[in-house]
């Protein structure tokens, strides 16, 4: 693709698309425990947003946008997963057992917060990271900028 040809409409659409996808993926992640959704699905959705962005703006831009490299995001994901796996050990439970805190609130009612959410967040990050690592590697070899 030639750098000189810019398609402004496409650029704007993709920007919007990325934002929507990210917000939607976080929404899916958070509601995953009770409704369709979850870390894996959310991860794919987020990465789709990023891939489209990268297709238009190139891989350099996407790297800046993500703060860390996609491989580091995999690392964060794995770290979250392992942390949530280890937390129960400090409560004399077996590894990977869910640990829950109940948060009472007048508007939302009782919310159960627990290590599974942390676990799911880890899955979310690592899935996003994996897909983007693969996509960005391919793009870089093809010199997609």
């Amino acid at each position: 693709m030639d750098n000189n040809i810019r398609n402004i409409i496409l650029e704007k659409v993709v920007q919007l698309f990325l934002k929507i996808m990210l917000i939607y993926s976080v929404y899916l992640l958070l509601r995953g425990h009770n409704n369709p959704g979850g870390g894996f699905i959310a991860g794919i959705i987020a990465s789709t947003g990023f891939i489209f962005y990268a297709m238009i703006y190139g891989t350099e831009k996407i790297k800046k946008l993500m703060f860390f490299s996609s491989r580091q995001w995999i690392g964060f994901g794995l770290m979250f997963v392992f942390i949530s796996a280890i937390i129960p050990l400090f409560f004399t439970k077996e590894i990977l057992t869910g640990v829950w805190i109940n948060v009472e609130h007048s508007i939302t009612g009782a919310i159960h917060l627990g290590t599974p959410l942390l676990f799911d967040t880890g899955v979310y990050f690592s899935v996003t990271g994996v897909i983007l690592t693969i996509a960005i590697s391919i793009m870089e070899v093809l010199k997609w900028n």
């Binding site: 009770n34 899955v123 994996v130 391919i138």
Partner: protein, 778 residues
Amino acid sequence: MIKILPLLLGLLFVAGFMVVVFYPLLKKRLGLFLAIFPLMIFVLLFLSIKDVNSDYLLVLHGKTEFLKNIFLDFRVDGLSIIFGLLISGIGFLVLLYASWYMKNYERQGHFFMYLMLFMAAMTALVFSDNLIMLFVFWELTSVTSFLLIGFDYHLEKSRQAALQSLLITGFGGLCLLFASILIGQIAGTYQISEIISQNTDFVNHPQYKLIFLMILVAVLTKSAQFPFHFWLPGAMQAPTPVSAYLHSATMVNAGIYLLLRLKPMLGETELWKYTLILSGVITMFLGAFFSMGQKDLKRILAFTTISALGTMVLLIGIGTPLSIEATMVFFIVHGLYKGGLFMVAGIIDKSTGTRDIYVLSKLFRPLPLTSIFAILSLISMAGLPPMLGFVGKELVYVAKIQLPGLSWVILPLGVGANIMMVAISLTIFFEIFYPLKNKPQIEIKYPEKKLPWYFIAGPIVLAATSLLLGIAPGGLNTLVSNALFVTKDQLIDVHLLLWHGFNQVVLLSIFAVALGVLVFVYRKYINRFIHYIIEWLNKYHLPTLFMKVLNTYLHVANKNTSRLQHGYHRFYLMTFFLVTIIIAAFQVNWNLSELKPLSGYTPININMLLLILVGTLATIFAVFSKSRLSAIIAMGVIGYVIGLIYLLYGAIDLSITQLLVETVVMVLFVMVIYYLPNFALLSTRKSRIRDIIISLMVGFMVTLVVLHANAINIYEPISGFFAENSYLKAHGRNIVNVILVDFRALDTLGEVTVLTLAAVGVYSLFRFTVNKKINNGQ
């Protein structure tokens, strides 16, 4: 007071890991700072000696359960205190010593981290009251010593020595694990104190021989006994502080400790006795014999260590109270003089730049203090009064004479080994220190005045201790008698004396010294003779042989791998499919009329029918399409159809995932499709027919298996459990998600890891091609 021991042990480990933080802060002072930690343990143990009486035993129960029924328990008794004192005391001195010795090395942080962890593992090993934890620490010493021996990893020799020691001691470690599990299974517990107090009869158990064999292999490998002795001389590739520590108090002595610890359970049988005596005698003599022919000071010392280890194994094999007493005293003696001498070797190496005893000369004047205490250590090694070495050697003789029946073999070889020791000590003294020898004075880079006190403190303190204990050996009485009580399970009063009066044993000593002097005088001829033998033995040089076996093994493995991993994707797939089909063909029920779904037939749904129709058409189109893009799109259609079928049956999560994955794959496909070569038919007619047959078989088999899955119900489906407990126990209404993140979280964890590996694989593959292109100048 002693109750804080686990805390201090933990602190030792923590300090090891915290080196990362300490090193940038302290730089050159790191070793001095770290020396505080072993010193604390030493002081604690030293203070607790006064509590020790003949039948003292303290078990500190840990609260942490590592695995089921495996607690971190510590055991304090005479045996572990003796070992612990030497490990922490010499560890303290070694750290002081290393902080100057290592000052010009790079990666000092790494070095001190390994050393601290090694120290911590070894200390924990001797205090551990649990067989499994003992194994863990045992392996930890193997691993850390691997890192220490291979510290100069840019040298091929170091790497090889490190690998050898790791493989050999690691192998022994596995045997130890095996034996520990067997012991635990028989006794019903892994706690050493419980096993001993239960008085389980291992000796007459049918598996006794197996257990003993495994323990034997563990000990022979760790303690460098013949025929596994060859890793120890190689291990002197490590920096000298490590050698000093490895040889004197740690690592190789772990095997001795294990034998003493397990003696109450497994000892006192004919098998135990004769095997240990045999291996001990051979090692004792060979070690002393080979040390005569060496030039390198460190190498000489390494072989004398092998000899000393052989002596200890032999004494444990003899197994009388006197011989165990002799083992204890000899262990202390050996630790004190060997640590000191290795440090001296390092000092000499630093100040002259060589360790060849025939090049070194007249070191007495430039290094007076070091020389005096090195000579004291040499006297201890030769077993002469007034050092503790004399006490130890006398005891060893008494123990050897005592054994009826075998003393005619052991005694001559023992005296022979002692003769060599005397000769070696004399040789080292005359070649290196003697000021009147007519050799040119060696050039000195660092005279003693320029060396810091903590660099020469080690040999001085160790030799002084040896001298002090030699003059007043009574200080060891209660400790040794307690250790005897632990290993022999009987109360024996120990009275150590420097001078027993004139008897048979003293006569033997005088004889050994006289012959030793004779050997020293004629050392040229004897050395030549030994060189002949070494040259002859070099045909069967064990380290080379070991490497050869290893390389052959790797070669065969390599060949096998390249045969299986040929790199042709189509053949991988074919192998996989064919094997699966064949296995399935044997398992499925070929009587198709029996395949009725358990839940009965559901009415035909018009939506379903349409989806299947679309899917089938898309499949046919994909197979016969002439354009790659349209084939891929057709595949995408099939994927979406499957997603919609999931939706029809109410599996929303599954369906969303399927649709999304299909989309992403499609995007990636479209990205690369432009760059792929032209779509062409390259395969021959024959291979196409073969492929068609295989794919038809696969399709048929999969259909059959699916029908089976619907018709057979071996176990109650687990979905009911998930549905019931999903909200109550896991606070989630989305069962699929709850399964993923809670009920089956371990699976998910594994999957995420696999995904990561896949990403790393893809990344490195692409990196590789990119770099290749850059290297080729494209």
